[in-house]
Point group: C2
Chain length 318, copies 2
């Protein structure tokens, strides 16, 4: 039996699965931080115990526990390092605490790596050895499945696709560097840009009830309706995303690039199709036909699958 | 016992080593293509048999044969696909031919991957799990050691660092794309540029005996003497190399980046020092101190070590 835990900014999703990843029980609760990380973690492990009891097993009998948690984290020590979305968590030894509470081996991954593992095991990357997942919500993250396993890099910091330069000496990024993908396609940066430059007569403003309320979702909705400004912004967004995929393709030769969040929401016509076209123009003619650029499949299932994907790592041959 | 074969444009280097990679015999001969690939390969396997006999063993007793060969190749089928440096070799089933002749399992890698394996086992990357090698001769290639093994990618085409864009919409590259690293730092492209733009009064021209004879070696020599034009060109070259390393660092988080050929020849003051500085300015402050950017160590030993590094792949746990 495996236990998966997905700790999000607002919700914690738990799942119990067999060793093949088939989910047999699940639950969900608000993250509702107490501002005391030890208490937060104790609540999560209590919920886990309850779920495990529900399927008639006990904590010590789990083969592996996988946890998906917002980064940054130190994967070697299993410590969570002050994620922006969990502000009171600073250097929380999550792995040690959960191992003690559940008496089972625990693996930790940041949410982008966990999403990549889940899409690889259960979603859009099933059956391939080389798959990259890009996720663009507030920030931009990636998980790299290379040669049939997660590549975490030195100190677990690989896959910082959000900070690959897509414009040399370009826009300042919140990270302090310039021209990062995240400065062009991250939800936070894009929201600021849209609020600053969206014309008052654009459909985007109407949908958002004014400039100050604009989010990328309004932009996508307006683009779907054909609003010229929104369509132009979407093209720009696609271009920068395509540049990052060109980099990834040249360096890593993936079979599948899985796009989540905004790209998934925007869909084929507004995002995936145009991105495929721009990538094909910037890689070699023999590369484009073998590279699949697809939307993430798991959607609402992702939180339950993410922790299970992480847990399964320990079971797979290295 | 292992056999390593390095097939270069002008020379074939052979080495026999024990299973730990310790070389016990070596030989070298001109490639001297007959324009009949089957005859070329027969000559190489004859030389291999002679070397093996020298150390008192026989072909069938080899645990593994590793071959380094100019790309492109199809690693799955062990076929060499018309390398520019071996023009008469077109779809040569090298692995099958050598396996038949030497009655031993054969592995094939392109020269950049083989160099990476050799520097990782025996040179500048010893003891680390994540190492990237960049080699800049006529073209620009790379070998990626990720998580303690070579990452070859889908169809073995990963590590095309030479065609990572370092200037969006930049100079045309011989590959047909624009702004590729190779268009700025590859020996072929750089030679063309230098012949076109070097001022007649530059020290570079004097060393080369005129513009038409200029090669990157003359540029490096003139820069070493302080020639202003040459120093400026070297700075430009370093900047583009640094951009590629920034990309690699964000995506792959290597511990060591090993630079061969021109960068190695240019050395600390003209290349490695300035490249480290430019990379440090374009990555996060916590990344730079843990990233080592160093020159390749093997030098003249590389051809003998390259094939052995490839052969050892088969012995290492996957």
């Amino acid at each position: 039996m495996l236990l998966g835990i997905d700790i999000g900014a607002t919700k914690v999703a738990l799942a119990v699965a067999d060793d093949a990843g088939q989910i047999v029980a699940r639950s969900r609760r608000p993250t509702g931080s107490t501002r005391r990380p030890a208490d937060d973690v104790a609540r999560i492990t209590e919920a886990a115990r309850a779920l495990i009891a529900e399927v008639g097993t006990r904590a010590g009998a789990l083969h592996a526990v996988g946890i998906s948690v917002p980064g940054p984290l130190d994967a070697r020590t299993g410590t969570v390092l002050r994620p922006p979305n969990l502000p009171s968590w600073d250097a929380v030894p999550l792995r040690a605490w959960v191992e003690e509470a559940l008496e089972a081996p625990v693996r930790l991954e940041n949410d982008a790596n966990a999403a990549a593992l889940a899409e690889w095991r259960f979603g859009a990357g099933r059956g391939v050895d080389d798959m990259l997942l890009l996720t663009m919500s507030t920030g931009v993250g990636a998980g790299l499945i290379l040669g049939g396993r997660l590549h975490a890099g030195h100190f677990g910091t690989a896959g910082e696709v959000g900070h690959v330069p897509v414009e040399w000496g370009g826009e300042p990024c919140l990270c302090g560097l310039h021209g990062c993908l995240e400065a062009y396609t991250g939800g936070a940066a894009w929201t600021l840009r849209l609020r600053a430059i969206t014309p008052a007569d654009s459909r985007v403003c109407a949908l958002a009830g004014g400039q100050d309320g604009i989010t990328p979702e309004h932009l996508v909705a307006a683009a779907r309706e054909g609003d010229a400004f929104a369509v132009g912004e979407m093209e720009r967004w696609n271009e920068y995303l395509a540049r990052a995929i060109v980099n990834l393709t040249m360096l890593l030769a993936p079979q599948v690039v899985v796009l989540g969040t905004i790209a998934r929401a925007a869909g084929e016509r507004l995002c995936l199709g145009p991105v495929r076209k721009r990538v094909a123009q910037q890689v070699w003619s023999h590369q484009a036909p073998t590279l699949r650029i697809v939307a993430a499949e798991l959607g609402d299932e992702l939180p339950y699958r993410a922790g299970i994907g992480v847990a399964m790592q320990g079971l797979a041959p290295a």
